[in-house]
């Protein structure tokens, strides 16, 4: 959290300073007013009284307070919001660094919750905790000094009361509400992920009449969320209660001590009145602090969840010194071994493969035999447990991932369609592609006729995850996107899944021309027509065999 605060320190400090001035103006206004009123009564006759200074002070403080308050709020909230936007960008960047295996450890609704809800919960920290606490301490210190100048015991009393009210009570509150705050944050995230999954699995839920069960489970999630939030609110209310009690005690003490001093002639009556009224104004600053402290548990939990994500080291990282990849070259894998965590036997066991520049290789094999895993290793989505992969003679472990991804493009089985239009999805493959290039890719992916039949053509909205397209159409859109990427190597995993036989054969028949000299590694179950690829390899028992 600290580095983030440091980045925005100027506006944050400005907000803090403005907050102090605002409270000072408020306390000053009531003090001066009380003092002026009493002093005027005691003076009785106008001759003995300098009227100008106090009345100007009262008016000036009143105006200053309005302006300061507005400026403080705008600055404080503006700075906080900027801070949250910074964090959101950083967290998204962190998500992008993680490997699929790492991402699979999070529910995707949960990742969204971290990006949205958790980061929002952090705004409590500065606006409701740091600023009021510092303001209360600064103003409380100043006020107790002034009080102490006339009435030393009362000065100590005010100082002690402010320390308890601004530090001890919030600390206890934060501890008391910490657990429920964490629960609230987790419950909110769980409920959110639950909705998320219900939306995505809606067709399955409906088809199996599982809605009542989902409904009941959601009810439980909502109930625990409500309980946790209510506990947080309870702590906040308890804090307000404690603050009022401290204020009452402090007020009674100031009255009692002041009365003794006044009767003893040690304290001016007008000053006494000014101090009492100022004290009432001073305690106003503590209200937000109590609410903030009660929510500190939530903020801490949110902070921990965000920072866990920020600090998770990526499973696949670039070496400090990267080597440049040649623009073209052979793709070579030797002795590749890989097993999924916890799996009984490895998927790949000593696999060797060499694909020359411009060569097209088909890989077949039973489903689950490791074809997709091989393509993922070639793309360096994971690192193999043994063996090495090189491109143009350079080990891909030593290359920058960015450069490797520019050389090779992968159409995976899980490639998603993104929310947006057909065009925006295609442009992800190549932002510079012109209209003709887009249509060419659509043609190669056998999707052009369909797009031409749409009202809005390329600008048709495809819905989230392409849910407004058929599975086959979504698949072909991903294929077109992969084809658009200006890469020298195409790694295609079941590119024709969802195509009918005729279209499938047409795609394969056209593959040689479409690839235009690119290297192609193609994993498929489909029958490959003659000339589609240069050779076909069978993946079995973790190794490749020619067939």
């Amino acid at each position: 959290m600290l580095p983030w605060l440091a980045r925005r320190r100027r506006s944050l400090l400005a907000a803090l300073l403005l907050a102090c001035c605002t409270v000072a103006a408020g306390v000053g206004l009531l003090s001066v007013a009380g003092w002026f009123l009493t002093a005027a009564f005691l003076a009785g006759a106008k001759l003995a009284f300098d009227l100008f200074a106090p009345s100007a002070l009262v008016r000036g403080l009143a105006m200053a307070r309005i302006a300061l308050r507005y400026a403080e709020r705008v600055t404080g909230h503006g700075a906080t919001l900027d801070l949250l936007a910074d964090m959101r960008t950083a967290v998204f960047g962190a998500i992008m660094r993680l490997s699929p295996a790492q991402l699979a450890g999070y529910r995707d609704g949960d990742l969204v919750a971290r990006l949205a809800g958790d980061i929002d919960a952090l705004d409590t920290l500065y606006l409701l905790v740091i600023v009021p606490a510092l303001t209360a301490l600064a103003l409380g210190g100043g006020f107790s000094l002034i009080t102490g100048a006339w009435l030393p015991p009362a000065g100590w009393l005010v100082l002690a009361a402010m320390l308890v009210a601004a530090c001890v009570v919030p600390y206890c509150l934060a501890r008391a509400a910490g657990a429920s705050g964490r629960r609230a944050q987790e419950a909110a995230s769980a409920a959110r992920a639950f909705v998320h999954e219900a939306v995505q699995a809606h067709a399955d839920l409906a088809a199996f009449a599982a809605e009542p069960r989902a409904d009941a489970r959601f009810g439980d999630a909502v109930r625990s969320l409500a309980n946790a939030r209510d506990s947080v609110a309870a702590a906040g209310s308890a804090g307000q209660f404690a603050q009022q009690l401290i204020m009452g005690g402090c007020l009674a003490g100031l009255l009692w001590l002041g009365l003794d001093a006044f009767r003893a002639g040690a304290l001016d009556g007008a000053v006494w009145a000014g101090l009492v009224l100022g004290l009432l104004a001073l305690f106003e600053v503590l209200g937000p602090l109590m609410r903030g402290a009660a929510r500190l548990g939530t903020a801490a939990a949110a902070g921990a969840r965000v920072s866990a994500l920020l600090h998770e080291p990526p499973a696949v990282a670039d070496e400090p010194e990267v080597r440049a990849l040649p623009p073209h070259g052979a793709l070579q894998a030797s002795g590749l071994e890989y097993s999924y965590p916890g799996a009984a036997r490895p998927v790949l066991a000593g696999l060797d493969l060499r694909v020359g520049p411009g060569e097209r290789v088909g890989i077949v094999g039973e489903s689950g035999c490791g074809k997709s895993t091989l393509l993922a290793l070639l793309m360096r989505i994971h690192d193999p447990s043994a063996g090495a992969i090189s491109y143009g003679g350079v080990p891909i472990r030593l290359a920058a991932q960015r450069e490797l991804h520019a050389r090779c493009t992968l159409l995976s089985q899980h490639s998603p369609v993104f929310m947006g239009t057909l065009r925006s999805n295609l442009l992800l493959g190549d932002p510079q592609a012109d209209e003709a290039r887009l249509w060419q890719a659509l043609q190669q992916a056998r999707l052009a006729d369909f797009v031409r039949s749409l009202d809005h053509g390329l600008d048709t909205w495809v819905g989230e995850a392409g849910r407004l397209l058929s599975v086959g159409q979504a698949r072909r859109l991903c294929l077109a996107r992969a084809i658009l990427a200006p890469a020298a190597v195409w790694l295609l995993d079941e590119p024709t899944a969802g195509l009918d036989e005729q279209a499938q054969q047409a795609f394969f028949g056209d593959l040689g021309r479409a690839a235009a000299g690119r290297t192609v590694v193609l994993a498929t179950h489909a029958r490959l027509p003659a000339g589609a690829v240069d050779r076909v390899l069978r993946l079995e028992g973790g190794r490749l065999h020619s067939c």
Binding site: F92, D108, G109, A116, F208, G248, A343, S367, G429, A485
Partner: protein
Amino acid sequence: MAEPDGGTQAAAGARPAARWLAALARLPRAAMAWAVAAPLLAGLLLLPQAWWLARVLGGSVAGSGPAAAGPWIAAIGGMVALRAAIAWSGERAASRAAETIKSWLRRKLFAAMLSRGPQWTRQKASGELSSLVIEQVEALDGYFSRYLPGAIAAVFLPLAFGLVLLPVDWIVALIALLSAPLIPVFMALVGWGAEAASRRHQLAMARLSGFFADRVRGAQTLKLLGRAESETAAVGAASADLSRKTMAVLRIAFLSSAVLEFFAALGVAGVALYVGLGYLGYLHLRSEALGLPLGLFCLLMAPEIYNPLRQFAANYHDRAAARAAVDCLAAVFGALPDPRRRRAPAAGPAASAAQSLPEHEAARVTCEQAPRPEAFQPEALSTGASLRAAAGTTGAPYAAGGSSAESPSGNEQAAPRPLAVEVRGACLQVPGRAQPVLCDLSWSLAPGASLALMGHSGAGKTTLLEALAGLRPLDTGAILLDGRGLDIWPADELRRAVTLIGQRPFVLPGSVADNLRVADPAATAEDLLGALDAACAGEFVRALPQGMDTQLGLQGYGLSGGQLQRLALARLFLTRPGLILLDEPTASLDPHSRDRVMDNVLRFAAGRTLIVATHDPEVSARLDGSLVLPQGGGQA
């Protein structure tokens, strides 16, 4: 997709939103009543507290105070404590009331979402919907826990304080009574802007959530396409845009509280100067001089007159936020749950939907349970029979009663009966496409027969299967199962009778067993293993680290596409339908696995009606007949 499809509802204005919020507030009646009463009571008790304080302080200084000040000081402390206790219990009640309302609403919205059917959710972004149900509903919190209690206090307390001050000093009372009513006028002006800005902001927030969800889901793909940096920048831009929008809301909201600060400060300064100048003899507006205790009392009460209003102003954007949230909810959900019809949650989603959707939705749901139209039924039966004869799908294994396909578990329901299927002039439009996906399609299938549904991808195979399962209403035409129109099948009976295994099986986070039990929550481990074996998934599931208890991560990470598909297919063998609908069950299987899977499917389908959408001629060859859907939805 964030395009509000019920925009007219939102545009209807603030009045329905306000009425609906007021009706919601009546859900937890007792708690809400105390939440509103407590601040009033605590506020009124301020009067004696301030008077005692003024008397001790002013009286002592002026020499007219009580001789023994001790009890008075103790009384002041006690009154502060009593008021704090009342405020505390009021806050507790408000919080409980708000939580009750939010929980109720969340459950209703969730049920409404489920009851709309997958076609409805498919057009929304899941991140957006979850943001609506969690965050937007949370935006109502401040309305019930702060705004409403504060609003009542803000109306009555300044008035009460003004009236008390009237006999003390009419000018001070006049300052209070005149400036106070001006405040709501200013705030209404400011409030309009705040509400519009708030609505814009919340829409942006919901869209941003949808955007995040979408990009997070495809994070890996974006990275592989080299878009990591540009997408991170896009997220940064979207967040910065959101904070700009939020600031626009806040600037206005703070302006409304600045107006109040202005009056409050003016009131304090005015009272201090007026009373002080009176003491000094500059002002002769009253016949007799005001005593110091009364003067101090006026000064003490001056900020308090404005305090409830300041509190109110601070909470005013809670109201704007709540109303904007209501608009967002209404824009997406259309009709909102009706709090006036509160009953114990009904058993099924259909029943709860009927109570939660007061308007057109309720009509649709209840007509499902309506008695069948007399005139329609016999005709449906007879044409069903005649078309069946004409369909030409002969040689269907017609195992009446289906007792041969009896599974050992779960005999509480009647044995499945193969269903006759008839489609009459079906037309189906999909948003965004010029031509209907299906147009005037008519065919029928005898009970127990099997059919391959073929055609180009995008020809409407999936759409037709979903329509047959009752998940997608037809635009025109009718689907009859067993001679009964789909619209008059009771929903739960239909679900039991028809099993659809979709093409995009969604893997829920949880174990393999959890995922299978979606189909039958009561299935034993043996049932599950049997089903997995039937789907040729037993082998690889047993090889997983914890077998069926292995947790599946995001989108089934670690399993290949074909394995996931077989896992989804295993669910079929846990159901006992009369009609089986399979969407590309073998699409990512190798030929060997495909043949084994089809063997088991056909064995299971004996005595049931089976429809398989497929591209694979080998699969289609094993079924009784085939139907090729033409591209562009022409005549079948």
